[in-house]
């Protein structure tokens, strides 16, 4: 391996990238725009659940129940209607998510110390939002139910019973449960994959189409040197992207950064190299830009978005798919990023992920080199 040859190809690559300002601009601006837009817009937080109320009872007891919903930060009571039909219509027309129906003798049952029923109608189409809304409803009902009992008991018996269990939930790492803290570090990985994989596979596929790749291969440059030099060219762009993304995450989105900067830099380099090698491999396999694009999207963007644990937790996937996620490098990088950003853990916890990321990078490097030498033969 000759550093001089690598250097020569690397300089050529840099010039190549600089000469096409549009692609360069896209490669530098796009991650910024994506991060800003998605970091602020992609949220799975469920609050301000639009709620419609039908109070058939119209008593102070029923109004007290409704006040519980109004007072909760999770529910936003949009108004009151005068029939169950109207509540149902609201759900039908996508106006509301939750309908609360208090039947006529609610107050009577409460006063008599009987079971007081009321109804919640829930639009279940978005199952995730609905499940979370449901758990809020249950928590609220439990809480308020306990209060009602306690006050009734203290009226009857002169003293009340405390709640038997003091159940405290403590959320670690992301105590306010804001989804931006969860989305942004993962987003950094996805954006890097998109930029890196697509840039590499497309640019080199164009060289295949124009035949300049064959010319390069006919020079004394060896395939491994070519792969390395090409990667280094893109790497400079990718490194700038990474720095931008991390800074935006920390300073614009206020995502806590609790870990080690050096570890972040090291693992990002491993990841970037791996993804660029992958892009080179894809372009060598695909040869045309259209196919390189399709294969690129199918093998970089989609898996990193869907199978990395970025949004969809790997634990809820079928076993077969869980096995597949092990060949998605973004899976390891997302875990590492969250570990460094939110948990502040170091190599003692993350070594497995770092090792696998390294394996991926080395394996793809050899595959790409092998593929290029095949072309040479």
């Amino acid at each position: 391996m000759s550093w001089q040859r690598i250097g020569a190809v690397f300089r050529k690559e840099l010039r190549h990238i600089m000469r096409d300002p549009r692609s360069l601009g896209l490669a530098l601006v796009q991650p910024l725009v994506m991060l800003l837009l998605f970091g602020s817009a992609l949220s799975l937080d469920v609050d301000r659940i639009s709620t419609l109320v039908y109070d058939a009872d119209q008593t102070s007891a029923s109004r007290e129940l409704i006040r519980q919903f109004k007072g909760s930060r999770y529910f936003e009571v949009e108004g009151a209607v005068d029939s169950t039909k109207a509540v149902e219509r609201g759900i039908d027309r996508n106006r509301i998510l939750v309908g609360l129906v208090v039947p006529r003798d609610y107050a009577k049952h409460v006063a008599a110390g009987q079971t007081a029923d009321f109804q919640i109608l829930l639009d279940g189409s978005d199952s995730n939002t609905a499940s979370i809304a449901l758990s809020y409803v249950n928590a609220l009902v439990q809480d308020y139910g306990n209060k009602l009992r306690a006050s009734a008991l203290s009226r009857h018996a002169g003293r009340s019973l405390p709640l038997p269990i003091d159940f405290q939930v403590r959320i670690w790492y992301n105590s306010s449960l804001e989804s931006k803290n969860f989305v942004v570090p993962g987003l950094v990985a996805v954006i890097l994959v998109v930029i890196a994989g697509m840039l590499a596979s497309l640019t080199i596929a164009r060289e295949w189409e124009m035949g300049t790749m064959e010319q390069l291969l006919s020079t004394p440059v060896r395939p491994s040197e070519l792969v390395l030099a090409k990667m280094l060219g893109f790497f400079t762009v990718g490194a700038v992207d990474t720095v931008i993304a991390v800074l935006v995450g920390i300073f614009v989105f206020d995502v806590p950064f609790r870990g080690n900067v050096g570890l972040l830099a090291l693992t990002s380099c491993l990841f970037l190299c791996g993804v660029f090698f992958w892009g080179i491999l894809v372009s060598a396999l695909a040869k045309t830009q259209l196919v390189a694009y399709q294969v690129g999207v199918a093998t970089t963007f989609l898996p990193s978005f869907l199978l990395s644990g970025f949004i969809y937790s790997i634990d809820s996937m079928p076993k077969v798919v869980q096995a597949i996620t092990h060949v998605v490098p973004a899976r390891y990088f997302v875990t590492i990023l969250r570990g460094i950003f939110l948990k502040g853990v170091g190599p003692e916890v993350l070594w497995g992920n770092i090792l696998l990321l390294t394996c991926f990078m080395v394996a793809v490097f050899f595959l790409a080199t092998w593929r290029l030498s095949q072309k040479l033969a």
């Binding site: 817009a41 799975l44 189409s125 449901l134 009992r149 009857h156 269990i165 670690w172």
Partner: protein, 386 residues
């Protein structure tokens, strides 16, 4: 005129279907997305790994453990003995949560004092974390109910024996909420995601095909050759867009068939309304493809540009992330996203069985988008040809 259009259409189909890889590129995405969203990914949380840290170790605390073990959602994977072990479990991500029964749990229960139970949840994934704490609360509440009842009896007994009034009623109201989940009674992610795939696929395939069909000619220099033939710009445009529209319709049928037959997603609306809306949506995507071709000289630029528009359009369509959760400014921005309307229409048609009387706003918006997009792009396209 129709003959010339037919010739172009035929040429496009030959070019598209000649190459095996290009053929795959048209028909693999729908199958792939169906598999992914129907089978692989979901937001349901039904595999919760918890560590059980029992600092009390009494029959009462083991009863609570049995409550968690009885739920199919929970898997107890470790019994950490001290704080350090519990912390390691969460740090490494091996457990989603650690449940800590505080010392004196049984004694406090016995004496009617609040007995301490703590749940430490890994909040890294905020969505999973809120569901886990919700589910755990329910299990703990189920455990508490008989305890409360017993305490009441005890209290009644003490009051009676202490000669308090014999008529004391211990009746206390109980709230019972009867929850009815509509449209997706089992709360399956799949029923929500699979219909949305139709929208993604049509956009992905038709925008790309149209843009590529034009830019390829320009890049290879065959555009000039085409221009010297008697073909008129309008015919050229139709010839380039019709094949894409046709492929889009085929892809859509594949997705609908898969959704209904394989994933058993209910379809409660009118198929004709769906077809009408698809055609309205095609106006928009074909127009977008043409527009993209006018601002790109190479296939790579066309792809980068379309990717730059497609990703935000997809992310802000409400497909995976509810629009109501976005910042208000971004929510207004989504009104400029044609995917948003089509997504609402498709989901309402599948799950809610809504008709035109409910969906006409969205349909009107798509019509406006389609017509504007097509006029804009054709006029720009013709200018560029001259």
């Amino acid at each position: 005129m129709w003959e010339r259009i037919a010739q172009i259409v035929r040429k496009e189909f030959i070019q598209l279907l000649r190459d095996r890889r290009r053929r795959l590129a048209v028909f693999i995405p729908p199958v792939l997305q169906l598999m992914v969203f129907g089978y692989a990914v979901n937001l349901d949380v039904d595999n919760i790994r918890i560590g059980w840290m029992d600092l009390d170790n009494t029959p009462a605390s083991r009863n609570l453990l049995a409550g968690f073990q009885g739920s199919p959602r929970y898997h107890i994977i470790a019994l950490p003995a001290n704080e350090q072990e519990a912390e390691n479990l969460l740090d490494s991500g091996d457990a989603h949560a650690v449940l800590r029964v505080l010392p004196g749990f049984a004694k406090d229960l016995e004496r009617g004092r609040p007995a301490g139970v703590q749940l430490l949840v890994d909040g890294t994934n905020s969505n999973t974390a809120s569901l886990i704490s919700g589910y755990s609360q329910q299990i703990v509440a189920a455990f508490a109910t008989p305890v409360v009842r017993k305490q009441q009896q005890n209290m009644l007994l003490t009051l009676a024996t202490s000669g308090n009034t014999a008529g004391t009623s211990m009746k206390a109201p109980r709230l019972n909420v009867d929850t009815r989940v509509w449209f997706n009674a089992d709360l399956l992610s799949r029923n929500y995601f699979v219909p949305g795939v139709i929208v993604n696929i049509i956009m992905l395939v038709t925008v790309m095909l149209t843009a590529m069909a034009v830019v390829r000619e320009r890049e290879l220099g065959t555009m000039e050759q085409l221009m010297v033939t008697p073909i008129r710009p309008f015919e050229f445009i139709l010839g380039k867009t019709l094949p894409a529209a046709f492929i889009g319709l085929i892809d859509m049928s594949m997705v609908v068939a898969g959704a209904l037959l394989v994933f058993k997603v209910p379809f409660r609306g009118n198929p004709l309304v769906l077809l009408t809306c698809v055609i309205l949506f095609l106006f928009t995507t074909l127009g977008a493809g043409l527009l993209m071709s006018t601002i790109s000289n190479t296939q790579q630029q066309a792809m980068m540009t379309s990717f730059m528009f497609a990703t935000p359009a997809f992310m802000l369509s409400g497909f995976a992330f509810p629009i109501r959760n976005m910042p208000v400014a971004v929510q207004y921005l989504t009104y400029l996203n044609p995917l948003r309307y089509f997504m609402e229409i498709v989901r309402s048609l599948f799950l809610k069985g809504a008709g035109v009387e409910v969906l006409w706003h969205q349909m009107l918006a798509m019509l406006i988008f389609g017509v504007t997009m097509l006029t804009l792009s054709t006029s720009r396209f013709r200018k560029r040809l001259d």
